[in-house]
């Protein structure tokens, strides 16, 4: 698991924003496309690619993509 791949996979859940506009420190809730459906897409992607189940609280307390990445990494190591 590495952060560059994760950022790319995270960016793919957004249909209207080019992937090159995402970085580890991107505040992903501050763009117009963020919604419950995007949150579900991210949760589903993490479930399928990393076998980790994110919760709503995990998403709620995260601001950057790296925050989500760190939660996924910690749950994988738990």
């Amino acid at each position: 698991m590495n952060i560059e791949t994760f950022v790319q996979e995270f960016a793919e859940q957004f249909d209207e924003i080019p992937a090159d506009q995402f970085a580890a420190d991107t505040l992903f809730k501050e763009n117009d496309e963020w919604s419950s459906m995007t949150a579900l897409s991210v949760i589903a992607m993490v479930d399928q690619n990393y076998s980790v189940r994110l919760t709503g609280d995990d998403v709620r307390k995260s601001s950057t993509i790296e925050d989500i990445y760190n939660i996924v990494a910690s749950k994988q190591n738990a």
Binding site: Q13, D15, D32, W34, S35, S36, M37, T38, A39, L40, S41, I43, A44, D47, R53, L54, T55, G56, D57, V59, R60
Partner: protein, 178 residues
């Protein structure tokens, strides 16, 4: 049969009434929200008349149009069950106010799916999703089976086994304690 209003997951679910016309119209005429739904007249009177007709269908058990609010009765979104035939129902007409807690639509979807299979006891739920609504399509493909498609829509169904998988998934996300 389902008991309404239902207080679940911190939201209140009830059936649409004529006085909800203004809220529904505000959703259906919001350009950002309405890009994936059928165009409607922007006249309040037409929306009220549509709801009056709907209430007749509701009374005959042909259709159920739900609205959910927060605990302060602030309306947040709507969805509809229609085309009720034998043990099958169509769900759709989803619209949710922008800027609310991103988990509310997930809570509402969990309520709806549970209502379909456990309260109304349907065996099968069908939906059609606009092809250009990519995120919604990705989401539904996790639990629904595609039956066909045309230029505009993809048509899918969910059975009771699919529902159990979806319920487990959504419940684990929202961890309902309310």
């Amino acid at each position: 049969m389902i008991q309404l209003p239902a207080h679940q997951y911190g939201l209140i679910f009830r059936l649409v009434e004529e006085q909800d016309a203004e809220f529904i119209l505000s959703l259906r005429t919001d350009p950002r929200l309405a890009k994936h739904v059928s165009p409607v007249s922007n006249e309040l009177e037409a929306q009220q008349a549509w709801i009056r007709k709907y209430k007749e269908r509701e009374a005959r058990g042909l259709e159920y149009y739900f609205l959910y609010t927060d605990e302060q009765n602030e309306p947040l979104g709507v969805f509809r069950l229609y085309n009720i035939e034998h043990n099958t129902v169509t769900s759709g007409s989803w619209l949710a106010k922008s800027g609310q807690d991103e988990l509310n639509s997930i809570r509402a979807d969990l309520f709806l799916t549970t209502a379909i299979f456990e309260e109304f006891k349907f065996d099968r739920c069908v939906i059609d999703v606009r092809k250009d609504n990519k995120k919604l399509l990705r989401y539904h493909k996790m639990f629904f089976t595609v039956t066909s498609e045309d230029d505009l829509n993809v048509y899918m169904y969910m059975n009771a086994a699919d529902y159990q998988r979806k319920k487990e998934f959504l419940t684990s996300i929202i961890q309902p304690s309310i």
